[in-house]
Each structure stands twice: as structure tokens, then as C-alpha cells.
Symmetry: C2
Subunit: 231 residues, 2 copies
């Protein structure tokens, strides 16, 4: 073994326990750093967007609580997709051995799904599309609702269906692998990181998809009725 030789595998906290991870370096920040960054940034964005959505100067039309919350959701999605998942999309090869803040966040999350530290092919592809398509489109959705643009519900539908399909594939591929990449039933890693955090992107996009469906169908029904009168 020369000086250049690198160990192929090192001890790590990931599942399955015999997983080989090259150049893994354990986090040097405590877990609450990552978690509090994620939740306080999301809370700050929620507050700011809530206030922005309440400002009457945009269109003069007051917004209901549900709509304001939906806009806050898309702002948070823009941040999580664009920044956090964007980081994974760009640096997934380096994350296991890297100590930058967002890499440590991903090494922590990967305790609930080790596909994030082994460059799992599907995961990289899905996350890349999430970061670069649903991320910017989420922010466009925020703007579209604030300015009451005519395509606001189309954007809501597109982003929500994209998130839903990606997440269904995310759970489905892992289900077919017997949840091998997580410590099953672990309260924090399995239930909170893997199940709960991702279930949010099943439940909320499903509701918003149906909401957009209803609004767009109603608009089309109104237009069809106007056209039928003209005939």
C-alpha cells in the first residue's frame, strides 16, 4: 500500500450495515444545527411570505387564509428544492467526505435513507429534476399568485404533480428494496426523517393538485358556457 492508497470503506452509521461508503467523514456539528437551520429558515420564509401575501398592494384582491398558506408552502418548497436539494444535486459525489454545512445536513438525513450517501442513480436523477425544475417553478408559483397571473393554478398543478410523482417513486423504489437503506422503525431516522418529512410532499401536493383541478375546471366551465351562449 503506497501513500496514495485510500481506504475503500470506513465505519459509518448508515443502513444496510454492510454498505460500502468511500471516504466517509462523520459530522463534526451536532444534529440540532442542521435541524434548526432547516426549520428556522422555513419558519422565517413562512412568516415573510405570509406578510407579503397579505399586502393589498399586489392586486387589491384580499386573499383567504388557505391561499396565503399555500403561497407560503411554495416559498418553502422553492428554498428546500433550490438550495438544499440543489446542493445534493451538485455535490452528491463529495457529500460523504465533506464537512460544509449543507453536506452535514445531508449526512444527517441519510441516516434515514442511505441512498443519499451512495449516489443512488434514481435518487440523483429525481433530486436533480426536483432542484432545477420544481425549485424555480415553486418560486414562480409564489409570484404568480401574488400577482394573480392567469397561469397561477396551472403552475400549482404542475409543481404539485411533479412533487407527488417524484415522491411516490421515491417511496415506491425504497419499498421494493425492503426499506433496506434505513434502520426500520427508528423513531427519528425512519419515522421522522424518512417517513414523515417525505409524507408531507405526498399529502400537501395531493391537496393542492385537487384544489388546482377544481379552480381550472371551474374556469374552463365558465368559458365554455360563454362560448355556448355565443353560438
Amino acid at each position: 500500500m503506497g501513500l496514495e492508497a485510500e481506504p475503500l470503506a470506513v465505519p459509518h452509521p448508515y443502513w444496510p450495515r454492510d454498505l460500502e461508503i468511500r471516504r466517509y467523514v462523520p459530522n463534526d456539528r451536532p444534529t440540532w444545527h442542521s435541524l434548526s437551520f432547516l426549520f428556522s429558515a422555513s419558519a422565517a420564509l413562512l412568516t415573510l411570505t405570509w406578510l407579503a401575501a397579505g399586502w393589498r398592494g399586489w392586486t387589491g384582491v384580499p386573499m383567504r387564509t388557505g391561499r396565503r398558506l399555500a403561497i407560503c408552502w411554495f416559498a418553502i418548497c422553492g428554498f428546500i428544492h433550490g438550495v438544499i436539494e440543489g446542493w445534493f444535486s451538485l455535490y452528491h459525489t463529495e457529500i460523504p467526505g465533506d464537512q460544509s454545512f449543507l453536506s452535514q445536513l445531508w449526512k444527517e438525513y441519510a441516516k434515514g435513507d442511505s441512498r443519499y450517501v451512495i449516489e443512488d442513480n434514481f435518487t440523483v436523477c429525481m433530486e436533480t429534476i426536483t432542484a432545477w425544475a420544481w425549485g424555480p417553478l415553486s418560486l414562480w408559483t409564489v409570484l404568480a399568485f401574488l400577482q394573480r397571473q392567469p397561469h397561477r393554478y396551472v403552475l400549482q398543478l404542475v409543481v404539485s404533480l411533479g412533487q407527488l410523482y417524484g415522491d411516490v417513486l421515491y417511496f415506491y423504489t425504497e419499498y421494493r428494496e425492503g426499506f433496506a437503506h434505513s434502520e426500520m422503525w427508528h423513531p427519528l431516522y425512519f419515522w421522522f426523517y424518512f417517513i414523515f418529512m417525505n409524507a408531507l410532499w405526498i399529502i400537501i401536493p395531493s391537496i393542492l393538485l385537487l384544489d388546482a383541478w377544481g379552480h381550472l375546471s371551474a374556469a374552463q366551465r365558465a368559458l365554455d358556457a360563454v362560448k355556448a351562449k355565443k353560438h
Copy 2:
């Protein structure tokens, strides 16, 4: 080795050449059987749907050529997703060793993408969602346009985005694996089966997605204008 012993791997036409495929049995039907079934069934569906869409009895509103063709496309999608991809979704474990008609079709297609004879995890998940979600929804889209239902463009948008995202992931995962599951540059297997046949589900859904976007935004714009007048 007892009588029960099965060979683990047998010679096969798939790529990479060292791929292990259990219980592979070569097709006993010529290739043109599969291809002519696919194309003649699609052509028959196209003709029938074309005629059905031309019938004035549905709504009395005449349909443009582009719209009639789009409806034909969704009928063909309903057949291909529901029947052909439905078969793969149900029998992907048996296909390599099975000689039923649709299994032979898949063994032929797999010469352009061997993920279909090795139960590739992403492929099975994506095809299952395509078969059981986009298949029935494609048929619903046909009906929705024939009956001018107010959610017809929402359905067009949902199905098209679902197909597009699934297909982008399909190409992207294989691109990241260096197109290892096909004989690169082979005119029939690589270019026609793998690239061309799947490129159709990138190009046509993209056009139909933009078309639905335009129609739904226009409907929303009209409704917003009516509401603005009332205020």
C-alpha cells in the same frame, strides 16, 4: 446438483454482454409479429378514435384536426400504457422465460434496454405508475374531450406531465449509467426502440402540456376578467 438445479445464467442478446439473466428463453416468434401488432393496433385505434372524434353527436361543436389527433394520441396511450406496459407491470418477473405474445414483445424491446429483463427497480416502479395511473387517465382524457368536460385540459396536462417526467427520468437514469443496457448506436435497438420510441413521449407530451397551459390560462384569464368587472 440435483434435478431441481436451474442454470443461473444463459446466453442472451442483451447488454451489457455479461448481464446475468435467470431462466431466459429466446423468442420463438419473428420480430415482425410484435412490431406489426403494436403498429397495427395503434393504427386501428387511431382510425377509430379519429372517426369517433369527428361525430357531431357528442356535443355539436366541430373539432379541429389538431384536437382530433390529440384525442387519437390519448387513445393510443391508453392502449400502450394499460395493455403493453400493464403487462410488464404485472409479469416483469416472468417475462425473460415466458413465451406469451406480450412477453415476447418485451423480450424484443429489451434488446434496446435490458432493464426490462432484469426487473430494474426504477423501471418497474415507473412502468407500474405509467400503467395504472397514466393508462386509465389517458382513456378518461379521450372521453373528457369527446364530451367537452370542463376538466379536459386539466387531464391533458396531468397525463402529459406524468408521461414527460417519467420519460425524462427513464432517459436520465440510463444516461448516468452510460447507456450500458443497450448496444450503443445500433440502428434498430438503440436508435429506433430506445431513442425514437421514447422520444415520442418527450416531444408529444411537451407540445400537449404547452397547449393545455395555454387553454387553461386563457380560461382563468377570462374568469378573472369577469370577476374584476363585478367588483
